[in-house]
Amino acid sequence: MTDDINSKKAELLEWLQVALELELATLPPYLVALMSIRRPANRVAADLIRGVAVEEMLHLVLVANVINSIGGEPRIDRGAVPSFPLQMTFKGTAFADRQFTIDLARFSEAAIETFMKIELPYRPKTDTRALFREIVVPALTIGQFYSEIVTRLEELDASGNLFVGSSIKQLEADYYWSAGGRIIAVRDIASARAAMSLVISQGEGAWEPSSDVFTTGGGDELAKGHYYRFSQIYHKRQFTQGDNPNGLPSGALITVDYDAVYPIRSNPKSTDYPEGSTAAVLNLAFNRAYTLMLRQINEAFNTEPRSLYTAIMNGMHSLSSLASQLMAVPLENEAGEHACPTFEWVD
């Protein structure tokens, strides 16, 4: 490989690491909104958020598979962990379609609005990047960012032996369940393209919706892009067969009660909780379990794929009960807020 190819590949791996962190970063906000709901209220909304969150986990794995397929090392460590309020940047510049910050916050109309912005389908605009290429780092949309990744994968594949990673590290279909899409093991450009296009089509990078999005399968929630699922909560109505994707949903009503939530503190830090308080104790337990799970995921991506089961069964499943307990704890402040897990890495 020439130096040029090597440096292009190194750059591609950097982008893919950003993609990995991008997917990881959407999870705490979605999960906090989901967990803040006081059951049994908002069942439909909860299920919609849950499905999207699980698919973001799928995206994390798909990106890791692409990184491993070309011999990179997906890093899930202290440096990869998001901190809230969060602004995702690329080369120091916020993405063109992410000029807003993302909070860890309770289920609310504002939160759903933000989620819609996160998942907003990419609408092609005049590409002005060429004009500025020499001057500033271009502000990419996330859709453009992902398509750049695919283009670069294709380019490098054409010029040599790109897929040199050990296939042992590929996570396969049976590591995933419970929502739409499936894991694609990446071994060549076709499977890499398929993995990336699944990320794009389900999620934040969705291309401009064709008008036939809802001509079939209007009732299948898991076939709808994330934007549309959140949009249904926002408009309190389901999209149905024949709906215009650029218009409003016209299907069944969804009951949404933004008051049926724990009034959790937004963007909390562990320092917000007095030492020795119930909130501090539970939050530390949560952060330890969260960190342990991230380490287990890192092990699954880099050493032993089967560790993903441990990450799921031991790590992830222990988080939800801790989060529920935490959110039931009042902080005894004037605002009447409740505690919320802080999603911080602890050593």
Partner: protein, 536 residues
């Protein structure tokens, strides 16, 4: 408050009926009462504990053994043949699906005509064709993996998941059966496979720890009920745990008014009024509940005008034959925690009169423990030589037996004698047929030839377990009220708003595990109630 539908029990039958009612009307008022409590499923810690200690988290919710000399136990065995209840069932939210193996067989067409074909027991009031669409739905509900190309039985839809492949060990059996012209196939099993169908449960990872699946890949009804409750908007679905139903309460005329239960948490007795009641507490407990629900008109218990409740008790004797194989050149060792090969060759019309049987290649065909050898300090060479040399192999199976009026289950005479759950203990009175031993001898000669074709030699007599896992027929379906307990719609004869759904309603068992058929019947009952619209 009056609930529309009260379901007693929370196992697979209760779950499948509830699901059907709620699918038709999300606002349906359904209350499920379960005597036991929750056993945590899919818990990593409990799973690890099971791996290390071999103890299962639902062990405390099984019957104790029958009392013996200085060991206090539970229940009474009053017949000539001991049919242990210990280990046969689980009293917990989710019922016996906590411990079942997941074998999900359909009955064969001839099983529906046992009386016509053999003079034994009763015919079913409908045939295989009538149940077939429900079998398909039951296979979906239980997430069954199986071979859709198997021509043994007609099917209108493929299995939801493809069959698990045969293990290498199965080859020993397959070769022998091929040489003898004995048919075999993949064992359909309720373990979720990999597919594009999203599920809240993980696909089977073949950990071999099926008795406590860390992923929920093997069907457990409580996981399914939890999903129904957590992720659907069913505002009028209630599940009450620790609710030990003492009696059904008779109402005016041909109706029941509801049930009286003992609430374990408060210690109080509570009456719950219901427009219709579905008893789904397993074969034995369902019969016992009817028997102890006495009223002026129902002197022998509700639905027992003809002294049919609790009668015709059957279960499957489970046999284990042992043989030695002189050599094991392929170094075969146990692979998975569940079987993949079954022969239903003798589950045929020709065998029906004598008692049809099936047999399987057990998952630990060659019972060899490398770990044990290593702990003993054997060298690699020794372990290899031992594994390649003479080893024990087994064939397991079960055989159909026929209902007798005198074989029965009942409550113990003093209802204050309760088990650890709080339910009155059971009396099981069972004596095997005089002809049974001769039938086992015939089975033994056939199994011996299978072993011989493997170059194995039968050793010892088979062990036969009469454990009442498949207890059935004690509230059997009949067209005439004098022949059974429930009608073809599973409604108790003589009562307009009381149903039973358990293995108890089977007129006979065939030679296979009953759960798939039970699920199909539960879905059929659900459809019947929905079609009726409104309440009885």
């Amino acid at each position: 408050m009056i609930v529309d539908t009260l379901i007693i029990g929370s196992g697979v039958a209760a779950t499948a009926v509830a699901e059907t009612l709620l699918a038709a009307d999300a606002n349906a008022s359904v209350t499920i009462l379960e005597a036991g409590t929750r056993v945590k499923t899919k818990d990593f810690g409990l799973w690890e504990d099971y791996l290390i200690t071999g103890k299962l988290p639902y062990d405390p919710f099984k019957d104790l053994g029958y009392p013996q000399r200085d060991i206090p136990g539970e229940n009474i065995s009053a017949g000539g043949t001991d049919t242990p209840l210990n280990g046969a069932r689980v009293f917990a939210y989710g019922g016996s699906t906590h411990h079942w193996g997941g074998w999900a067989f359909r009955l064969k067409p001839e099983d529906f005509f046992l009386r016509t074909n053999t003079g034994e027991a009763l015919d079913w009031p409908f045939d295989y064709g009538a149940l077939e669409p429900y079998y398909c739905r039951a296979e979906q509900h239980l997430a069954v993996s199986g071979n859709s190309d198997d021509k043994l039985l007609p099917r209108s839809k493929p299995f939801p998941f493809r069959a698990f492949p045969y293990t290498l060990q199965d080859k020993i059996y397959a070769d022998a059966l091929d040489s003898l012209g004995i048919a075999y196939g993949s064992l359909p099993i309720a373990r979720r496979g990999v597919s594009n169908v999203p599920s809240r449960h993980a696909p089977c990872q073949t950990t071999g720890t099926c008795k406590y699946c860390p992923f929920g890949a093997r069907y457990v009804a409580s996981n399914y009920l939890d999903d129904l409750r957590e992720w659907n908007d069913f505002p009028n679905l209630t599940v009450g745990l620790g609710a030990v139903v003492l009696t059904l309460v008779a109402g005016d005329g041909r109706r029941v008014k509801g049930a009286r239960y003992w609430d374990r948490e408060t210690g109080k007795e509570i009456f719950i009024e219901a427009k219709q009641v579905i008893v789904a507490s397993g074969a034995i407990e369902s019969a016992k509940l009817l028997l102890r629900s006495k009223a002026d008109y129902w002197r022998l218990g509700i639905g027992n005008a003809f002294d049919q409740v609790g009668r015709y008790f059957i279960t499957h004797p489970y046999f284990i034959f042992n043989a030695t194989l002189d050599e094991n050149p392929d170094l075969l060792q146990p692979e998975m925690g569940f079987p993949t090969l079954v022969s239903r060759h003798y589950d045929s019309p020709e065998e029906q009169k004598q008692g049809k049987f099936i047999f399987i290649a057990p998952p630990d065909t060659v019972s060899f423990s490398i770990a044990q050898r290593m702990q003993r300090g054997d060298s690699r060479a020794l372990v290899k030589a031992a594994l390649m040399g003479k080893n024990k192999i087994q064939i397991h199976g079960m055989v159909e037996t026929f209902g007798r009026y005198t074989n029965r289950v009942a409550n113990v005479s003093d209802l204050r004698d309760v088990n650890r759950i709080g339910l009155p203990m059971a009396t099981v009175e069972y004596t095997k047929d005089a002809s049974f031993d001769a039938r086992m001898a015939e089975i033994q000669s056939r199994i011996t030839s299978v072993f011989a074709a493997m170059k194995g030699t039968l050793v010892d007599k088979p062990s036969i377990s009469w454990r009442a896992d498949h207890a059935a027929a004690v509230t059997r379906m009949s067209i005439k009220a004098s022949d059974g307990v429930v009608n073809p719609d599973l409604k108790v004869h003589g009562v307009d708003n009381l149903y039973v759904i358990s293995n108890g309603v089977f007129p006979n068992l065939g030679a296979v595990n009953p759960t798939l058929t039970l699920t199909a019947l539960a879905l059929k009952l659900g459809d019947h109630l929905v079609a009726k619209g409104g309440m009885a």
